[in-house]
Symmetry: C2
Subunit: 501 residues, 2 copies
């Protein structure tokens, strides 16, 4: 294999997609497996992406009237028992705290001691404990809507874990709101769904389809669950965010009542919604290539990396001065209403090692500066959305004048590519045979097909093909009705089938 064809990541996507994913995570230094079962260590580069995600979403939550709070990590077991469906969903896979001390036993080993009369679980989600507070905080219609959010860690004892995509502990935000009417709560649920959809499109450059989950995929305790679904490069779907209309289920379970303007005591209507560190997994699988991570500039921890190429020691001062000035000027350029983030890489590495380390980390723009650039007042630039070999020389002035536009370009190109990829792998399927063929013999994709609403058919398809209904898309137009391809019964609209993470 010649250097030209060699990829920075082994295996390639085509060779072994799941292993490629793990290798990208490793090569970009995003995260690593920890000594705690199913939990990951998020490394600086991965955490910086999460901080950028947080900053954008947090601003948007606040702009729409939500306030941040912090509730306890532990939840009394009795709280979980309040909502029947909720128990079923979360009791099965949670970390249980049963003791509050360690003691050294006869063999000199530390063992649990101080058994708790009432054990706790580590929150898998916080509806019940926040509901308890809402029942005290909400008295009158004047207290509504109650709009809170928390950024927190949660834990679900997952059997099979994969970094960012499914880990026992993960980081997320969970919004919890209470409203006076069903309409207000529904409106909130869909407002957040729209916010998530726009965030996925505009920041992650990950085109997302919004829709409703079928009953079998609903959040335990919800009346309806909405989601955004995106297509990864292996044509599988990734659920990237959910927004739940909880009706009065949790209001009844937690006894959250209010005195209406008419003086009547009523239960509130609640919602909850969240996105998690899984978004980083989605970002990776949407854009990255066989050379590693590709970052959408709007969420990149670093926009431009400057690589001094010093071949002779006597050139160092000139090259470094040129790099430092360039960095200073770049830091005064605005992209996405913030100053451009720049770093000069002064590590003692060869030029190639340096450049490739940033390719693998997905930095949008790399600038190499050697004596040639200093003498000609130019920059030698590589863009992460292009091939490594497609580097070009630009005058320093031209580069400074266009760098913000180039970052926007990269952002747009990534979104356009992902959108095209999804379109190319989306089909309308109108018969059961064709459907089974599509998922059995091909690579799969998103199949839009008619379905009669039957949970039995859904279960059968899942059993036969490991294919699920990702969502009933929320359309802007009146949906096309038709006949279910499995039962020939009436169907209100096409739904999206796919294999999924």
């Amino acid at each position: 294999m010649t250097q030209k064809n060699k990829t920075a990541i082994t295996p390639t996507r085509a060779d072994d997609y799941p292993e490629w994913y793990q290798q990208v995570v490793k090569a970009a230094e995003l995260a690593e497996v920890s000594p705690v079962r199913g939990c990951m260590i998020i490394k600086p580069w991965g955490y910086a992406i999460w901080e950028n995600i947080q900053r954008v979403l947090d601003d948007q939550f606040k702009a729409t009237g939500h306030k941040n709070v912090y509730f306890p990590l532990l939840i009394p077991i009795s709280f979980l028992e309040k909502e029947a469906a909720h128990i079923e969903g979360f009791a099965k896979e949670c970390a249980v705290v049963t003791h509050h001390r360690l003691e050294t036993n006869a063999e000199g080993k530390l063992v649990p001691a101080g058994e708790l009369e009432n054990p706790y679980i580590i929150r898998p989600t916080s509806e019940t404990i926040i509901g308890e507070a809402f029942s005290r905080w909400i008295q009158s219609y004047r207290d509504l809507p109650m709009l809170v959010n928390q950024w927190a860690n949660v834990m679900r004892w997952e059997m099979r874990t994969r970094m960012f995509l499914r880990t026992s502990e993960f980081l997320w935000q969970e919004g919890h709101t209470a409203h006076a009417t069903a309409e207000d709560a529904q409106h909130e649920t869909l407002k957040i769904l729209d916010l998530y959809t726009r965030f996925a499109n505009d920041y992650l450059a990950m085109p997302a389809i919004k829709g409703e989950k079928t009953a079998s995929e609903r959040f335990p305790g919800a009346v309806s669950t909405y989601c955004i679904e995106a297509m990864m490069q292996d044509k599988k779907a990734l659920q990237a965010g959910t927004s739940h209309f909880l009706g009065q289920n949790f209001a009844r379970a937690c006894d959250i009542k209010f005195l209406s303007a008419e003086g009547k005591e009523e239960y509130v209507w609640t919602t909850s919604w969240g996105v998690t560190t899984r978004l980083i997994g989605g970002l990776i699988m949407t854009h990255s290539d066989d050379n590693g991570l590709v970052l959408p500039p709007k969420l990149a921890p670093l926009h431009v990396v400057i690589l001094p190429m010093v071949h002779k020691e006597e050139q160092r001062a000139d090259i470094m001065q040129y790099c430092t000035q360039l960095a200073d000027e770049l830091r005064h350029v605005q992209f996405d209403r913030k100053n451009i983030l720049v770093e000069i890489d002064q590590r003692e590495l060869t030029g190639g090692e340096k450049a490739w380390s940033w390719v693998k980390k997905g930095v949008p723009i790399r600038i190499e500066i050697g004596m040639k650039e200093v003498q000609n007042t130019t920059v030698f630039m590589g863009r992460r959305d292009k091939e490594y070999k497609d580097r070009i020389s630009q005058t320093r002035q031209e580069f400074l004048a266009t760098v913000a536009t180039q970052l926007s370009d990269i952002q747009n190109i990534l979104l356009a590519r992902a959108t095209k990829f999804r379109q190319d792998n989306t089909v309308e399927i109108n018969s059961k045979d064709e459907f089974y063929d599509y998922f059995k013999n091909g690579d799969g994709g998103f199949a839009y097909s008619h379905w009669n609403g039957s949970a039995e058919i859904e279960a059968q398809v899942k059993q036969d093909l490991n294919v699920t209904i990702r969502c009933i898309p929320k359309l802007d137009t009146v949906p096309e009705t038709g006949k279910c391809i499995f039962s020939n019964e009436a169907s209100k609209q096409r739904v999206i089938f796919a294999k999924a993470y």
Copy 2:
């Protein structure tokens, strides 16, 4: 009791300081006790203060080269066993996860199931699990210094809890660094101590004394522990932040070695340091008065609240228009390099109720706008650092021109008051009798006295008076030597004794 003498908080500080504290926390809606033993719910107003603290410190950590990471919540028990002193310090009071599932038993109750072969504890601090990663991440001197920080929740099973000051779960940041030499690690430890001191002074307006802890108050596993100590209004000390020089203790325990520039394999030198939500408790107890919370403007979630005073419905439109324009103009004024934060309170409450709710929440500046203000183009302003009755009328123009200066004034006045209070309650004590008198009969304060370094004397004083050595102050000048007031033996410098939280 006349209205004039009535305070918004009952009891007053003089009547019952601990209960006054709880009532301020409640009246300002900062936090409340949760159904989880020893844990609090941080409400929006309290959390917004924490977010402001985080933002300032996070920027400063990053500016000094630290990168954020995230490590697992759970720590394998075997990790705790690595460092002997560390076990002693943390095994006694931690939450232990022993099961990973709940099951419904014969009586229909949820009970722990799926016992873990190797239980975990919820992190009380993360030296051991971060140390394990450092042992893999650090190979050569080129990897040093390694400077990371995480914002996280931690848990210590405290017996007596008080909101913000001591809770079983709390929020904090924990910095962890590794260095090639003892000097570098010492330098880092003290650099962070300085950063904390400046933050306490410049943002919390809480003058803090930096110093070293005695051996008996050292962090379990540290070679030396440095701290900042502040005086609360009941003259007790509050430890507000700590920075630990860990020597090579954790490097040996976690096997963190590096190849030096000279090609020798050596253990690294590590540090750790943290501040917690306790800072909010310090802020409350430093500035608040018998009318509730008083916020230093630099950390206030809101700088100016505008209170429309509508007595007749037909005036509403004019008053609201005036308020809205004023708010818009205020939002363009800069304070502490950010736009001023303004809110218009449109709740259906009487003017007095409205105004007092913001007094209790500590908002630096309140503006009342009625028809008189609209007609005269004035504002009626109250400042939280002054008496409620000392409200003044200002022209709108003058107010807009001076608002940023007024906020700075308030910030400076709070620091000056707290500094004076500490000075007024600080004494040099030169004999044991005087010392015992001071703490037995008076209200206490900070006593600077000579001490011979004996842990026995320290223990005796603690037993007799519940007074501890808060720190051995780090002075800029050569310390005054003397004779220990308890033993008459030689003393290198005066240390600070006080009762403490």
